[in-house]
Subunit: 196 residues, 2 copies
Amino acid sequence: MSRSADRSAQASMLSAAVWSVLAEQGLERLTVRAVAAAAGCTTGLVMHRFPNRRALLLHARRLLHETTRERVSALEEAAPGPREALRAVLLQGMALDERNRQEALVWMGFLAAAVTDPELIEEHRRNNAAWRARVSRLIGDAAPDWPADRVASAALALISMTEGMAAYAAADPEAYPPSAQMSMVDAALAAFSLSH
Amino acid sequence: MSRSADRSAQASMLSAAVWSVLAEQGLERLTVRAVAAAAGCTTGLVMHRFPNRRALLLHARRLLHETTRERVSALEEAAPGPREALRAVLLQGMALDERNRQEALVWMGFLAAAVTDPELIEEHRRNNAAWRARVSRLIGDAAPDWPADRVASAALALISMTEGMAAYAAADPEAYPPSAQMSMVDAALAAFSLSH
DNA sequence: TTGTTACGGTAACAGTCGTTACGGAAACGG
DNA sequence: CCGTTTCCGTAACGACTGTTACCGTAACAA
């Protein structure tokens, strides 16, 4: 049991190393050797944990999805009501602090890498559909009398907005401080009649 | 004069080749040889036109900016009023057809490449600031009585939304058809009291 | 035509890439 | 205690990278 636990922990550590390299050095320098250096091991360990580089990236991508999914679920459960949950869930997807900013960079890097990788692009699509469904459900709870198309339109607008804002803030933190991001989200929620 | 015109034309052709490779093969395969192959020449020509690979990417990035800037300006001038101009300008930034979708892919690729390239990231920031200023000006014309902070907030929301939507639609065209993108923009404009 | 210059294709360079093979060390069962 | 197996670091492979040097060729001046 300790064996598989170690293997899983190593896989997580290597995934974290992938995120680190992706955020700090970009997609072009996301090499097996760079990941191994960031993880404090050699390429031998990396290639023994994963059959090849693409499998390593795919695992890191899936683990990132799972991590954020758990975080979002926790935020949703901790919120006092559906509108507070919606706001909290949207805010966590933006670049409000350095950690979230790096996560946005990683997110963007995976999306750019997915252009040529069928498995990564399929992972993105599945992930994105789940994300859209979650926000749609939150909006449906926040405005139970809305028709489905209004819910869908608002959900699409809100997730697009947070995605674009996260990219902007990740690329230019000084131009998009946390206060601007938060006021934008609140203004959008107010415009869509979803303020708490 | 024909010399410099040829040189400029070749630089534009190589930039188009950069876009093509970036959209079809992604950032990882954006090599000098791939660009030369897409342009139908050898690496010798590429390296005679540009001192190195980064200069080639930077020129392609700047030319893409200039091209879209001219297109946006033309749309703005052709619009009958400020609200129609705002809508047209926002719509061109999304992935409504295959051409715009590829452009969104290229846009995303450059942004991902800018993570490690100081010149590219500065180019993005300058470009993005100009884009935000333009949309803010359009909103100011469309709603002259709004206070500045409301204009800024709406502008930020709208450009973030279109940016995110373009990325989503570029990565998953079937999930985000043009009709969904357009209805989302119209819903957002209506929500922000900017409908025409 | 002849000499000169600019252009661009060819080939090679050193370096890095993903991946593989091998060998030593550590952990395990007996 | 030893034999076996698992683990992982080391070193190497061929392929590919950006970049450079070289050289033939076409265009121009005289």
